[in-house]
Symmetry: C2
Subunit: 567 residues, 2 copies
């Protein structure tokens, strides 16, 4: 490709609405353009990256035994009504009518569409297992689209769905996909973690998220370098502490102290000179209309998703101030676990606490030297606090490492949720009709592109991993008006192409500094700079990622790049 | 690929709603399934074919200097309002509102979207020319979807749009695309013709359609083997006949004959024993409220599209019976060109006619020996009759050949229609702001798949051209329970894969006849049949297209297939 003929509109300034690096850089470097809220034009450089991402996905999915299909984007309403999700999905799903007033949705996900296909074609255990995938547009009408490709309304996804005779086979395929996804993201050159994840609305038994590690990620995860445990903080379990031996022997006498207008944990901590770890935080939740009290150590937060896994209710939320007073008869900010009429649950973090501070149940007073067991009854110790870096691994006890990440893949064991609702059955070896057991497996293709940039960039621009870079090498003649420079550059350009590299030559009649800036911004892994020493047969290779520069003879450019690639 | 694990649901019966071979066979052979009216699931075999078609298109478009982009499928209404097409496009365009009540369309074509991108990024003549293309879904809400992929509501299209500094450069690119399309369809192994076409609603200066030749095609075309002229019959010109010398010397006396209840050309021909070629057919059209009479030779039909090119009105249609009587004062079926108060135009086919039959202008009477010039005045000779096989080539006079075809590609020189409406301008070398000159170029990707089947099938099934076949070779062990046969088949399967062929092995435990039927139905170009002679190291190669069979040693299977491929 010749830069002079390529449609690569680079920009100096970031757009005003771009908040994160990938959004800013993909626009500045000419990979995408905003068409409307949450809608992006993908420009030629972006298409090149997407094709490379898609190719890796296809090769690995095919290798894993999955088969590619293409289902319509227009989803007939009947199927969503059948699964019970037509009304559940809410405003995120775009609905419309055709000219005959029939209802359709723009597919946000395709469980219904694929289950409909498979139930019509598969009748026997002999036709199973089956894993079908597609790569294409998906639609979610986000209320506030943002972060560029990260949370767009129209995006490209790889979605796969598998069908099995039993749970065991579905689980086998689950781990097959786990391995496949690991290979996919590894081949893309991304630092990632597969973490245990909450199964959320989609239902099902267990699931993993594949997270690209990046400081700007919206998700948090923890992992253990010793035993390999890794989980999203929405799911990560606390190691249950032992109850200290002879804890009763340490108990001191409970005392009431005056704490005028001192309510929040930090205020109490400062006022009484007690660290938050020794203060009890007491929260009231409403679970389907019933109130429950939940105690956590003062420096800890309740993780909503984990909480909902423990208290499985239709409606789960924090109580309002009025509800607190109504259910406890105590003033907010001074809630006491003692003498409460509603049940008190306590997070694992409370187990080791002795002689702690808690509210006194009356305005402007706290209690010191409170002890669970002696002063109040814990109905049950539960695991609802958010796990943090440094906490003990629930598996092996080693300290956990905490990172931020971007979810780029998600695998689910679905079970029979959709096959039962939609009557997708097969006849087994004994002639018995059974619902198929399903799994589903997604990768956000456009999101991978954005996540790769979040993870790999610096002040000068993007630093593409080699495998998904729009070009492997950019050849930069510093002055195209000098014949020697131009000819040497063209020679290298041709040689690299012949050797199978994706190459672009910056043949524009522009100042060297301008070209260098664009090359850094676009983020092509290797720059071959052809300057004055071309007359001596010497050019420079710059490695975008490390900034290293090497002077090499023209004849050895290919060899040097191969060497730098580690083979 | 192993047939036993592949999702290839073949069927014995054609679906009831399938009218044409491609629809029947693509369903029966397991390439597609109907999801709803005009919506199809593409199954793994179909995806393989589409990928091959897309790859050829990409390679040739890239080679021609075009660059791939991906624009959203959700088109903001503002852009269509700006171009003036929001209301014009009618019910074929699917419209919907997002959660914020903003209007969108599902893109049926992308002139507006691409012009919006280019007008924002391109400011100078230095950035032109530019040819951008995409491959993706398009939507047309056909009132009556039919013929499977041929006229679906959701389909895959390659659409390209080019931008230029002037007409001359746009024309250069037009012919560049003409050559590119010719290469594309040739590489796909399809028999096709590029024909001059009407520019229709999309506007613009000239256009060509690329037609895949097939007896079942909806379109008609004519071409000349001598000079290369080729045109759709909607566009094809008649060679203008010379007025015969001394025609007046042949004139006979005009006579009125009683023709009771004899109205239609065939009836008159039979009643008077005169061939239709010697009878004048007189039609009345309404052009924007004005009536005109048009005469054609009795065996010819007026081509509506050509007629509209001559009489450019907003509303052009045949007159109703009431209108005929009102404007001519004559009864329908006995219309006479003589003494008419509305102008009489005559098609070229009328020029050589002498002493012909025409209506007498009164009920139940015709005239014999009528002659134009003597008996009535022709306002103008025009070219509105449909050209047929055997007619003279308008270029060189040689007889034309007529075929039916399926439109799979269309190239247009658009001019400045969209760039003017949407203010897509650039500054030229002299600092003058001008609208860009545009071209657009489409290929119906899913339609190519259907057209290939229409052209290439027999009673047993599909006969894929090698370049777009889902697999190149199918290896058929006639009995997988016999170890020798199974091992030989597996060995050939592996060898062919290693040599770069796309291969499927029919490893199903099924009767040979069943496997042969499926292989013929699916239409893979080469079948390698491994039977009893495997013990002697001999297998059979069957060529799907010709039905030829060759016995070859196992070691020479690759060589023989290469030889049959002509290399």
């Amino acid at each position: 490709m010749r830069f002079s003929r390529a449609f690569i509109p680079t920009m100096k300034e970031s757009p005003a609405d771009a908040e994160i690096p990938s959004h800013k850089l993909l626009i500045r470097a000419g990979f995408i353009r905003k068409k409307a809220s949450g809608l992006y034009d993908i420009l030629p450089l972006g298409v090149r990256v997407l094709h490379k991402i898609e190719r890796i996905i296809r090769e690995e999915m095919d290798r894993a035994g999955a088969q590619e299909v293409l289902l319509p984007i227009m989803h007939p309403a009947e199927l969503w009504i059948e699964s019970g999700r037509w009304d559940v999905y809410g405003k995120e799903m775009i609905k419309f009518k055709d000219r005959h007033e029939r209802d359709y949705a723009l597919g946000p996900t395709a469980e219904e569409m694929i289950t409909d296909l498979v139930r019509k074609e598969v009748k026997s255990y002999k036709d199973l297992p089956l894993n079908l995938y597609q790569i294409g547009r998906k639609f979610r009408d986000e209320i506030r689209p943002r972060f560029g490709l990260m949370r767009a309304r129209e995006f490209i996804m790889k979605d796969a769905y598998s069908f099995h005779v039993n749970d065991e086979d579905a689980e086998r395929e689950y781990w097959n996909m786990y391995e496949t996804y690991s290979r996919i993201f590894k081949r893309m050159g991304l630092e990632f973690k597969a973490v245990e994840a909450d199964t959320g609305e989609i239902g099902g038994k267990f699931s993993h998220e594949f997270m690209v590690i990046a400081d700007t990620g919206e998700s948090k995860l923890v992992y253990c370098e010793k035993c390999g445990y890794a989980a999203s903080t929405e799911k990560a379990a606390q190691r249950k502490p032992e109850v200290p031996e002879n804890r009763e022997s340490e108990f001191k006498e409970c005392q009431k102290v005056h704490t005028p207008n001192v309510k929040r944990i930090e205020e109490v901590s400062e006022y009484l000179s007690v660290p938050p770890e020794r203060i009890l935080k007491l929260l009231v939740y409403i679970v389907d209309g019933e109130a429950v009290a939940v105690a956590v150590r003062g420096d800890r937060e309740v993780e909503e998703t984990k909480f909902k896994q423990v208290f499985r209710g239709k409606e789960v939320r924090l109580a309002t101030d009025e509800e607190i007073e109504k259910f406890t008869g105590q003033p907010k900010g001074f809630l006491s676990p003692i003498g409460l009429s509603i049940p008190v649950y306590a997070d694992y973090s409370v187990i080791p606490m002795v002689n702690f501070v808690a509210g006194a149940g009356e305005k402007d007073y706290h209690l010191q030297n409170v002890n669970w067991g002696r002063d109040f009854v814990v109905k049950e110790f539960i695991d609802v606090a958010e796990v943090r870096g440094g906490d003990s691994c629930p598996n092996c006890g080693a300290p956990l490492i905490e990172k931020r990440g971007i979810e780029v893949g998600h695998i689910f064991k679905l079970g029979t949720k959709y096959s039962e609702a939609m009557n997708a059955t097969f006849v087994d070896e004994n002639g018995v009709e059974k619902p198929m057991v399903m799994g589903c497996y997604g990768i956000g293709v456009t999101r991978v592109m954005a996540a790769a940039v979040e993870q790999n960039h610096d002040d000068d621009g993007i630093i593409w991993p080699y495998e998904i870079a729009p070009f492997h090498v950019i050849v930069i003649p510093v002055n195209v008006k000098k014949e020697e420079i131009r000819n040497t550059a063209e020679e290298i350009y041709e040689t690299l192409q012949r050797e199978g590299f994706d190459v672009i030559i910056d043949d524009r009649n522009a100042r060297p500094g301008f070209k260098f800036k664009d090359a850094d911004l676009i983020g092509i892994p290797f720059q071959v700079i052809v300057g004055k020493k071309a007359s001596e047969g010497i050019v420079e290779i710059k490695v975008r990622k490390s900034g290293e520069r090497f002077e090499v003879p023209v004849k050895e450019v290919v060899k040097k790049i191969r060497e730098l690639l580690g083979g």
